[in-house]
Symmetry: C2
Subunit: 202 residues, 2 copies
Amino acid sequence: MSLPHALLTALIEHPCSGSELAERFDRSIGYFWHATHQQIYRELARLEEAGWIEALAEEAGRGRKRQYRILAAGRKELRRWVAEPEDPKPLREELMVRLRAAAVIGPSGLQDEITRRVAMHRDKLDLYRRIEQRDFLDQPPSRERRLQHLVLRAGILQEELWLQLSQEALEILASSDADDRPEASAEAGAPGRQRRPAARGS
Amino acid sequence: MSLPHALLTALIEHPCSGSELAERFDRSIGYFWHATHQQIYRELARLEEAGWIEALAEEAGRGRKRQYRILAAGRKELRRWVAEPEDPKPLREELMVRLRAAAVIGPSGLQDEITRRVAMHRDKLDLYRRIEQRDFLDQPPSRERRLQHLVLRAGILQEELWLQLSQEALEILASSDADDRPEASAEAGAPGRQRRPAARGS
DNA sequence: ACAACCATGTAAGTAGTTACATGATTTA
DNA sequence: TAAATCATGTAACTACTTACATGGTTGT
């Protein structure tokens, strides 16, 4: 679980309140480790209890903003954690499950959904590339900047990969499931057609 | 959540018991949607209760093997689900969090861990490529085979991507964190050295 | 018949999600 | 001063994980 350490990292960069952290997550770190504001508040409370961060004065209260900053123990914990071995989490790609299902059940109406995803990947790719232009393509590459840039490039390459795979999936479906799309040549006789009778169970 | 539909898909291919499904998951679908045997047994019970699958005769019992097969209602549900829109789950890449942390805390001892991951990605890539050779590179590409192949290629491209990114991370760390590795030229004066004093909190 | 293993299952705990509530702050 | 919004928080739920237990089956 990386959330506490993602928060510690963000708090090293500068002290912050929960809502600001949620916002920063939505913009930067969150592209690779998403968190809702509820998770963040809960985790901040734990980090404070562990003595890794502290809230800056200002009496507490439900609607009051609380700034946190990292403590020495928090830095130490972060250093410990960074080098800790941890196996990569198994992939969870729901689109792959859908494609496998589409493979066995025949024409599926999956094309519209994949088209939607193509657009989403394009948008994200645009966004990342703009960030790259703005933040990384001019300055002298210090160690810190090179690592941050690598993280951003990971996001770019991921989006490029899924964009390409989605498009290939579309091509396969388009050439074989033509009769499954209302807009396409709708009736029988489309080439590659092979809808199965879906042998009934029971 | 894709697990129930991944199971339905597997059961269309052929009827199966829980332990066999767990095994098949470890080999094929599981590369893109992992599940433990406990998840699988629990989910099978739910699918049976929903009337989407049924257990083949044989009186139940704790240690007895139970074969399941898919029912018509299960096929219908699977067809419904395949085309259902669903946003891609946000990425959760713990290595990215570590790299960001390494960027802000300075030399980190992260190299050994990344080296380990490079080896893991290489192994998986080898495995996938062998499967590709064995199962996909000779036959005539039917719609079903093309989709299955695409899913496998998604795995291959993922592994290639993370392999390359891990290697780039290693290069950055190697050129700047040399003094952080016991094996490397250990003492002062290494080029690119820039350990920070880690300003203390509190 | 005893050990080793296999198939299924129970239980407890954690991370993450969704819906909603409450107190503060800003704005009309 | 009422409405809208912001910041924090509570509660309930789901998916997933880890550890372990129980009953069959297989092999010696």
